[in-house]
Symmetry: C2
Subunit: 415 residues, 2 copies
């Protein structure tokens, strides 16, 4: 039997036991794992050095190596993340609905664990701990398939998790790491219907699209964000500039950052040159429509392809529109239904924008950068769902649960 299948089956068996564990047992295990990671930090750092060395040999860019690197401080942070997960309320067992039928049937709908969750991700070894912690808290076994660049680190981390779990009520097999770094192991995971209940890809868009296009196991799609900010005619100029700058440059590499600025023509004439200057001062390359280019001389011409691109970088498209409807139409055409914002003092326009834009998160007078589980107060985040089924937007712990009906009767039969 392949490594993938054999470990997934172990996870599946463990899930039956884990699913019955109490909140207290799960929280205790999370804290014990957190302590073990700190206690064995030197071993993790040693394993991580091997990954870093291999990365340097392969010519991996420094920015990626930085995301891969672990030190005592980062390990402390990762462990602290687990302790925070332990502090959060346990969604499992929550009663969502109670129905008493005329025939006397008593029906209760409760949250239950999903079962076995597959996570396919890239180089960051912190995801290994984070995903394992979120799954454990929600009573789910997890099959982790990280990138080969972090294999040494992930292997050591998983060993420490297993060691720590051996002293708890949680089955060690609840956390499985796939070490086979061939692409075929990903292919196999994607077809494990009946063993894996869901796959969550975490990483760049090519990884995510590969999973969406090829998995037969149900997928929660995360990630892609071509987000817009629309500055309406009545926008407060200071607020408009603050929000536009924040949405673009506070962290350009993430999915909820802005890729295109839409500006009402009457606002643009007076204020766009100033805002453009502020963006340029932050080293943002500007690409714009014809009207933009009459107002901002340094802007290159933006093509249709530009409007359809998630830069995740210091590049911004700017388009001047003649009315709200044109902005809505542009967002409908080029948006990825992630996060969209209107800056306006006109309540009617704000309401139309909030109602009519089809996206996971729609903002009035606030930066799209807030689309985040922590910023929403969920205390944890598995990712940001960009699909419409199961979960949409920032996913907290309840997104890792399913439901179950229990029905109690006194001998009822269907007539």
């Amino acid at each position: 039997m392949s490594e993938v299948r054999s470990k997934a089956l172990k996870a599946s068996a463990a899930a039956e036991i884990l699913g019955q564990c109490t909140t207290e047992q799960k929280n205790q295990a999370l804290c014990i794992v957190a302590d073990a990671l700190v206690t064995h930090a030197d071993q993790i750092i040693q394993a991580n050095l091997e990954d870093l060395e291999q990365g340097r040999t392969l010519g991996t860019p420094e920015s990626l190596l930085d995301r891969l690197a672990l030190n005592h401080e980062r390990i402390q942070g990762i462990a602290e993340g687990l302790r925070q997960i332990a502090e959060l309320p346990d969604p499992v067992g929550e009663t969502l609905e109670t129905i008493d039928r005329p025939n006397g049937l008593h029906i209760v709908k409760k949250r239950v664990p999903i079962g076995v969750i597959g996570i396919i991700y890239e180089a960051r070894p912190n995801v290994t701990v984070d995903a394992a912690g979120l799954c454990l808290k929600t009573g789910n076994a997890v099959v982790l398939r990280g990138g080969s660049a972090a294999l040494s680190s992930n292997r050591k981390i998983t060993q420490i998790i297993h060691l720590a779990l051996s002293g708890t009520s949680i089955p060690q097999d609840s956390v499985q790491l796939i070490e086979d770094s061939n692409r075929s192991s990903v292919d196999e995971m994607m077809k494990l219907n009946g063993i894996l209940d869901v796959l969550i890809p975490r990483g760049g868009s090519s990884l995510i699209q590969n999973v969406v296009q090829n998995a037969t196991v149900p997928v929660i799609e995360t990630g892609a964000g071509i987000c817009h900010t629309y500055l309406d005619a009545s926008a407060n100029p200071h607020m408009a500039q603050d929000i536009a700058l924040n949405a673009k440059v506070q962290r350009p590499s993430v999915c909820n950052s802005m890729e295109t600025l839409l500006v009402h023509e009457s606002f643009a004439a007076a204020h766009l040159p100033i805002i453009a200057k502020a963006l340029q001062a932050e080293k943002v390359e500007l690409r714009g429509c014809d009207i933009t280019r009459t107002l901002v001389k340094e802007a290159h011409l933006a093509t249709s392809e530009d409007y359809a691109t998630e830069y995740n970088d210091y590049i911004l498209n700017i388009k001047v529109v003649t009315h709200l409807d044109e902005a809505l139409q542009h967002i409908s055409q080029f948006g990825t239904k992630h996060s969209e914002c209107i800056v306006t003092e006109n309540e009617e326009n704000a309401l139309r924008f909030l109602n009519e834009v089809d996206a996971a998160a729609v903002y009035h007078n606030a930066s799209t950068r807030f689309t985040d589980g922590f910023e929403f107060g969920y205390g944890a985040e598995i990712g940001i769902s960009t699909q419409k089924l199961h979960a949409r937007g920032p996913m907290g712990l309840p997104a890792l649960t399913s439901t179950k009906y229990t029905i109690q009767g006194t001998g009822q039969i269907r007539p």
Copy 2:
């Protein structure tokens, strides 16, 4: 452009308008469509006769022809179904969560339509109206792909729906029927990511498995049910017999009927022969384990394959078990996580069964035949989900909705 793509794009454009329609506008349209179906019943029956004639020519069995056949009474019933959908509360717009953050952000999570729903189904033309009605009520456009055996009926029904909608606020394009009866049109629908938001297959297991295995569009899996009833040592014998008979013979062809009866050995000795006789009187063929066959001489030997088969017929497996754990283990191995039942007077065993069995609906002292949207009081049913994501068990109107966050601020930016 292909028929599938062109109609899906029309549905997608219509969905933007339909999604903004009020509950009143949608309910009014449902009633107008119901009236139109009754008014034009003769035309529908005429078109249906063409389908029936073609079916006879092709040698379709009478039982299938009966499912295909429409008459005035059935059309009245279908129209009444639409009026009942109009009476149900509209889930769209419901506030699910309100979050006020320390930074002043006001976050509201609301139910919104999913967008465009694809339904792939078999011969029954009533599904055409039913699915269109449920989607319309929840603000979703729908792309219907029925079986070729009902094409004439479905085409006429869709024409009447379009005619009826022309006098309402609902775009006619909200309901699209794919008339191309080649398999390639199904293949194309399954890959329409970005246009279709979800696919719901309704029909036999080969249809459903084809969609689950090949769709890249998210799927809601419905249908397969290998359901068990476990008669515990302390079961009330009369109740046990009533529930077992009801679960098997009240309607054997459906997914929530029983396929395997598990019986505790101490209960079996005294009561299984009597229950087996009652089942045989209802023309149920029995297949059993060795112990069963010593108690019920007419039972054939049940194989592992039998335990893994959804008969949907007058056939039943019987297995005698030595304790509750063996019953749980059997269900875990052979069940499809649909509906499972324990009959017992022992509260502790009942609780264990309700907690430990992993299925959409778990019963204590009631027939599994109750797993149904109407029986649960939902007033409508799109199907019974056998997957764990998005919806599980009987799906009422909320299963056809997604969610959206709206965030109102006063210029907040992320630090």
